[in-house]
Symmetry: C2
Subunit: 356 residues, 2 copies
């Protein structure tokens, strides 16, 4: 079967849907997967015929470079369903562009825009029933590319696989988040791959995060690797703080992901006449603002985390609690973004994308 789309996408549907096994009222994050996946292989210097096939295992040579040299990048997106059963995406072209920015830094081939978008949209239409309508839930979408080419020589692979898989998911965090501002470990280097959604950026965070979890925190906020003074990001989310009425976030750099939710919040803040400073800021500044009562809010922002309020930060053995405030920036941004995502409000920015 072919859909007859311009990319000659081949579609093979499952004969054994797992849909009836899913409890949509009790969804974990990213642990159950929809019936189909989009797959496209790169070999002989080009992307081959893309396919949608039943979600299934992948067979790889043990010398495939993904196992040895970490050549992989990914994206995180979500599909939302409104009460007219329409499917929506949020700024999908930002993810489409960013996966190619990540790939370039990892010496991997760019994936064509029309393959990405048509593959994604066709997959969502086929797995439409997998998009949750329960509050706070959505279909988490994971486009990813990894090296399948073989060899122990430390050099880029000559073959790759691009996949889009989907997981109906509940919230990434349950409740407020406690964070530890890191003083020893680092996420990324100047001139490194921190700005890319590269697999290896995540594995390096797990051990320091586990140490923080043992101390009672949920996440680490990463600082610059030279002084550990400058606040960077939290690995799964960009970080915003509110001092007085001013919203502050770090500028993106080669160490900080250019988050889609981050830039959407900056646009919303501008629209709501909230004073914004995109500038470097330090732990010392946060501690002082906490002590003198001007630190009103901290929150994380990302596709998986949406807008996640931070209730406490730890630093050098001290904990600093954030106040509970009415009509917080975090709650305002979260409402505006999710109202656009779920087609519950006007979208003056043109961010919503209907899958037809």
């Amino acid at each position: 079967m072919s859909t007859g789309t311009s990319i000659n996408l081949k579609v093979e549907k499952t004969k054994n849907s797992k849909l009836s096994q899913i409890d949509f009222n009790n969804l974990p994050f990213g642990q159950t997967f929809s019936d189909h996946m989009f797959v496209c292989d790169y070999k002989d210097g080009k992307w081959q015929t893309p396919q949608i096939i039943p979600y299934q295992n992948i067979s790889l040579d043990p010398a495939a470079k993904i196992f040895h040299y970490g050549q992989s990048v990914f994206e995180g997106m979500k599909a939302y369903k409104d009460d007219q059963d329409q499917i929506w995406l949020f700024r999908p072209l930002e993810n489409q562009k960013r996966i190619n920015i990540s790939s370039e830094r990892l010496a991997m081939p760019a994936f064509p825009k029309n393959y990405f978008m048509e593959g994604l949209e066709t997959l969502l239409k086929i797995d439409k029933e997998w998009i949750p309508q329960t509050p706070g839930s959505s279909l988490y979408i994971r486009p990813f590319i990894f090296a399948t080419g073989v060899g122990f020589h430390a050099s880029p692979a000559d073959e790759y696989k691009f996949i889009i898989a989907c997981a109906p998911s509940g919230p990434y965090f349950s409740g407020n988040v406690k964070v530890l501002i890191e003083e020893k470990y680092s996420r990324s280097a100047n001139g490194g791959v921190g700005f890319a959604k590269a697999g290896g950026n995540y594995a390096g965070q797990f051990y320091p995060t586990e140490l923080a979890v043992k101390k009672g925190y949920h996440q680490v906020i990463w600082t610059d690797d030279n002084t550990h003074e400058y606040i960077e990001e939290a690995g799964a989310m960009n970080i915003f703080v509110r001092i007085g009425d001013t919203l502050i976030t770090s500028p993106t750099s080669d160490r900080i992901l250019d988050g889609v939710t981050r830039k959407s919040i900056l646009d919303i803040a501008k629209d709501e006449n909230i004073p914004v400073e995109v500038r470097k800021f330090t732990v010392t500044e946060l501690v002082e603002a906490s002590k003198n009562g001007t630190l009103k809010e901290m929150f994380g922002a990302g596709t998986a985390a949406v807008v996640s309020p931070i209730s406490l930060f730890g630093h050098k053995g001290e904990n600093y609690e954030l106040p509970e405030i009415e009509n917080s920036y975090a709650s305002r941004f979260k409402k505006r973004i999710t109202d656009i995502q779920y087609n519950r409000a006007e979208d003056k920015f043109g961010w919503r994308y209907l899958v037809k």
Copy 2:
């Protein structure tokens, strides 16, 4: 079939050896693989029954965390055959220890020493005919561990696979190496994972290395990410320089791999009464020494690269040639190490390890 070893290793031999297809006089590095592999799975909180099976593809869920979060570490070792057909390893316990140091930093479980050593030795005996005896060749051994556990949550996997695969291999470099001292990109951060043999450390080097290759170099020499002044390592090898008669190499750190060949060279230098300085050194120092004629040698050292002389380094658009000298340190170290490895000379250090 069981070997009856203490680890209850199960062995299934191939019925279709590929040995006759291999041209041992024309071996690339790490591109053809021996008949068998050692495999052990981690699940339910422990390592399961280890097996030696025919070299074959691995089947993985598309949500296996190796594809998304780069949780993988590896080692590089070699097996050598002497003219009595005996199999030798070089300081294998150093690799056994180091893979667990790498795993800890990547939040992965340690692999038991007896599983590692018995699995490796049994595999080498079964694939003995795959160990080349052609000069400069050896059986490259690749132990590696990666995350097979499933999920899109950015957290450590709960299942892993340990594999040892082998590739009869010729030299990693053909001839002298031209290197570019990096001024913009970085390999690792303070407090990062640079000291670990983590997959993600390698993918991040490919793009800057490709840029260097386009300029006519073979490898990048990485510098500190803050000032790009301090010489660190070359990704696939540690770096030594000789200024006057003094051998200089950087101290290991959380950004620099504690290389087995590196530390063997330091011991040999001590044994040969060569003055050694293990200290930080700068590009400026190298350029000055090159200009005033005291820079006699540069070379890389690593299991794959053995001892690889550097003929030229580039920095800020200038190339600095190294002189050709008689009885170089590099040639002396290479001869002493390979004579021990191939059982051609006395081993006063106790580095050689007979596989019985």
